[in-house]
């Protein structure tokens, strides 16, 4: 068992962290705005992916900042899950499209509480 010893790297400067966080927040915000404003289910799905990546970026940034690999581990997890989920979600979207011949999410609002 002679795994390579990870090379210790130096913590990032505070400026680097805030830039990374800003980008992460930007990604997340774009995702939210997109998700809330668009009706096309594929676009909405892409927006959720954007938010995902925003969160993942923040984690990597913090991992770098605090020299802790668990942030990276989480990100790997997120990527895996996101991939799986993308497969499922796209399949669902295709199914939904087949039912109502549209990608507009409002076509499905009758599933809600009020049965709108």
């Amino acid at each position: 068992m002679n795994l390579p010893v990870p090379v210790p790297f130096t913590p990032a400067a505070p400026a680097e962290l805030s830039i990374a966080l800003a980008v992460s927040a930007l990604l997340f915000g774009l995702g939210i705005v997109g998700f809330l404003s668009r009706r096309n289910m594929i676009i909405m799905f892409l927006c959720t992916e954007l938010m995902f990546q925003g969160a993942a970026l923040a984690m990597i940034a913090f991992a770098r900042q605090y020299m802790d690999v668990s942030g990276q581990v989480f990100v790997i997890f997120i990527l895996t899950v996101a991939a799986a989920e993308a497969a499922l979600a796209l399949a669902l979207v295709v199914l939904l499209y087949r039912c109502r011949e549209t990608l507009n999410s409002e076509a499905w609002s009758d599933l809600g509480e009020g049965g709108a």
């Binding site: 939210i32 998700f35 809330l36 404003s37 009706r39 909405m44 999410s105 409002e106 499905w108 609002s109 009758d110 599933l111 809600g112 509480e113 009020g114 049965g115 709108a116």
Partner: protein, 722 residues
């Protein structure tokens, strides 16, 4: 406050006498056999034979016990309810075992209970024969259960055994009154009997608790010992409440005011049942209870006086109602209530001897009267209306019935030199010679009632047995005219509507006639103790039986009582010379009593035999009188007691129950419980618009929620931590 308590003989424990338990066991065995016979659809008279033999054997057992009797004994049989606990104060155990308490009072009662039980079972074997294969086994099952319960009531050595029998006879009464269960009136009567009795039973149960709470035991023997030692109340209630509670039970079972209303209705049962249960034996259980617990009735000075007042009042009330009834059995039912009133009067004025002796004589002549009425009913297809029967004694085959009924009527009317004349005499004498003015008054009420009794008794006999031969057959052959008695006891009305014996009266055969003759002889023989006393100055048997039991206080045989008739009545020094109408009390009462009896009979003779139309004219005249015109009608309607009870108790309770029922459904469950159940739904309604089904709506809600949390965090941060 207690009078001088005469010593009650202490009982010895005699396990070797456990064969006495047969008196209870045999009826139970016969009940089981009858039940099995019913289950296997037995079609012959087997149940009757078994019951007769079992009851006869039980009579023999009692007779044997009587002959071998030498003093009170307690016979343990098996442990029934018994448990004990270690810690605590006075109460360390609760014991109510199946044991027998045999003293002369027990034997006195059991002798006539089992004897009459046997005779009436024999009678019923013929009377009920039309029901073979249908209700026959059920009927004798009921009779056996009754005898079982009555035996445990009388022979049990503790009050819980008595209570077992007390409710058991109530059950037997319920089953037998409702024997003809397809008739709603019978079902209602059975129900009424049980429920009214339950009111009394509650009093009895509370009395039992009270006794236990104060004396820590329920066995007679220990109770009497503890009683002599004196007790003090360990609960809220004063110890003197005991007699009133027990009294309530006695009033229920013995059909005294205010709980007498069930007994007339109980006549819905087959006639042998009326004779056995509702005339001769079960209804005397109240007398037995008071006689048994007599010492405890001296715990409160007014307890016995209450019994006397209720007794005399009931006697008068029932007699007035009896005067205006047309159904023979109902007349006899009211006469039973009235005679029971005499017994309670006797107990109340302090002569247990008089009360119990009257119970004894009454058992014979009243059973006889009911059985003759049953014979008439049996022969005339259920006809019991005294207006529709006449001249029975001139009809072939009805001689025995008519003349045994005549004997019964004479005895009920307390005709001079009959047994009932003497037994009633003891009671009235004690009342009239009492130092209490109210007892003297009650004695005169009793005398007046005696005249009424003689009148209504012979009203029946002169109407039914004397006069020209004239009869209508019972409603079985021509529709339901007389409500409640339309069906011949135990016969399905439809199936027997036009059977052979409905067309013409059929005279009773040997089972019925034989029993009638034996009972008539018994009624005459019941006077022997009194004859021995009057003519030979020997001690009265019944009096001696009382004097060696817990009823000794009222037996009138104390050392101070020189006069064997007890006429000096509780004045040991003899300073109080009682007189009745200026004569010596004994002679005076005999004269007045005879006059009352003969006068009543004569009036009945004039109104109901010599010129029957005069009775109607008298009635019509009475009804036109302004002030008293309502009385005959009220008497016919039993003084509206049933209606008053209905209006005062049943109706308000029923309305209350309806209100509660609706309240339970719509308020408690509907408004409150369901209302609380709707709360989450209401809360949900507030937030429902947020989840309208638009995907972005959910997202906005979510984002808004996150935003709010963030804002909160930031606000705390801005406020600073301290």
């Amino acid at each position: 406050m207690t009078t001088l308590l005469a010593a009650i003989p202490k009982a010895t424990i005699a396990p070797e006498l456990s064969w006495l338990g047969l008196a209870i066991l045999l009826p139970l065995v016969s009940a089981v056999v009858c039940a099995l016979a019913g289950a296997f659809r037995c079609k012959n008279k087997f149940p009757a034979v078994v019951t007769s033999i079992a009851l006869g054997a039980s009579f023999v057992v009692i007779l044997q016990a009587y002959l071998a009797y030498s003093g009170p004994v307690v016979v343990p049989i098996f442990q029934w309810i018994e448990f004990a606990w270690g810690s605590g104060g006075a109460f360390k155990s609760f014991e109510a075992n199946c044991s027998l308490y045999i003293d002369s009072l027990t034997l006195f009662w059991m002798l006539f209970v089992t004897g009459l039980g046997t005779l009436i079972t024999v009678y019923a074997s013929e009377y009920m024969e039309g029901d073979r294969g249908k209700g026959y086994a059920r009927f004798f099952f009921g009779i056996s259960i009754f005898l079982f319960s009555m035996s445990s009531l009388v022979m049990g050595d503790n009050l819980v055994m008595l209570y077992l029998g007390w409710e058991g006879v109530g059950l037997a009464s319920y089953l037998l009154i409702g024997y003809d269960y397809h008739r709603p009136s019978a079902v209602a009567a059975a129900k009424k009997a049980f429920i009214v009795n339950r009111i009394g039973d509650l009093g009895l149960a509370l009395g039992i608790f009270m006794l236990w709470a104060n004396y820590g035991t329920l066995q007679y023997d220990e109770l009497f010992a503890a009683m002599n030692a004196g007790g003090q109340s360990s609960v809220d209630w004063d110890i003197s409440v005991i007699p009133f509670l027990l009294m309530l039970g006695a009033f229920g079972k013995s059909a005294q005011f205010p709980l007498f209303v069930w007994l007339p209705d109980a006549m819905e049962g087959p006639t042998p049942v009326s004779a056995l249960i509702h005339a001769a034996t079960m209804v005397t259980a109240g007398v037995y209870l008071i006689a048994r617990m007599f010492p405890f009735f001296e715990l409160h000075p007014d307890a016995l006086a209450t019994v006397a007042w209720i007794g005399a009042g009931t006697a008068l009330l029932a007699a007035t109602i009896g005067m205006r009834q047309f159904d023979i059995k109902r007349v006899f039912a009211y006469s039973t209530i009235s005679q029971l009133g005499y017994m309670f009067l006797g107990l109340g004025v302090g002569t247990t001897f008089g009360a119990c002796y009257h119970t004894f004589t009454h058992a014979f002549f009243k059973a006889l009267l009911f059985l003759t009425a049953g014979a008439v009913m049996h022969g005339f297809a259920g006809q019991l209306d005294l207006r529709k029967l006449s001249g029975l004694r001139h009809m072939p085959g009805w001689k025995i019935v008519s003349w045994t009924m005549f004997i019964g009527c004479l005895w009920l009317a307390a005709f001079p030199w009959t047994a009932a004349f003497y037994s009633k005499d003891v009671i009235l004498l004690k009342a009239l010679t009492s130092e209490r003015w109210d007892f003297v008054l009650l004695g005169w009420v009793g005398l007046f009632t005696a005249a009424l009794t003689a009148y209504y008794t012979f009203r029946v006999w002169f109407r039914v047995c004397a006069g020209p031969v004239k009869y209508e057959m019972g409603a079985e052959s021509h529709g339901a005219e007389h409500d409640g008695h339309d069906a011949h006891d135990g016969h399905a009305p439809a199936a027997h509507a036009v059977d052979s014996h409905a067309a013409h009266p059929h005279a009773p055969r040997w089972c019925i006639n034989g029993v009638l003759i034996i009972l008539a002889i018994g009624a005459i023989a019941a006077g022997i103790p009194a004859y021995r006393e009057v003519f030979f100055h020997e001690p009265n048997w019944a009096q001696e039986m009382m004097a060696h039991s817990s009823a000794v206080d009222g037996a009138g045989l104390g050392a101070a009582h020189a006069d064997p008739h007890g006429s000096s009545s509780g004045s040991p020094d003899g300073s109080h010379h009682a007189t009745v109408l200026g004569m010596d009390a004994h002679t005076g009462l005999a004269v007045v009593g005879s006059a009352a009896s003969i006068g009543g009979i004569l009036i009945a003779f004039v109104l109901h035999l010599r010129s029957r139309s005069s009775a109607d004219r008298l009635l019509a005249w009475l009804k036109t009188r302004p002030l008293i015109g309502w009385i005959p009608g009220a008497m016919e309607h039993k003084w509206y007691v049933d209606e008053i009870y209905h209006g005062a108790f049943r109706l308000p309770m029923w309305l209350g129950a309806q209100v509660l029922s609706l309240g339970d459904k719509h308020f408690l469950d509907g408004a409150i419980v369901d209302g609380i159940g709707k709360l989450p739904i209401l809360v949900g309604k507030v937030f429902r618009p947020l989840y309208g089904g638009v995907l972005q709506g959910y997202a906005v809600t979510m984002a808004g929620g996150v935003g709010l949390v963030l804002a909160w965090v930031v606000w705390i941060w801005l406020r600073g931590f301290n």
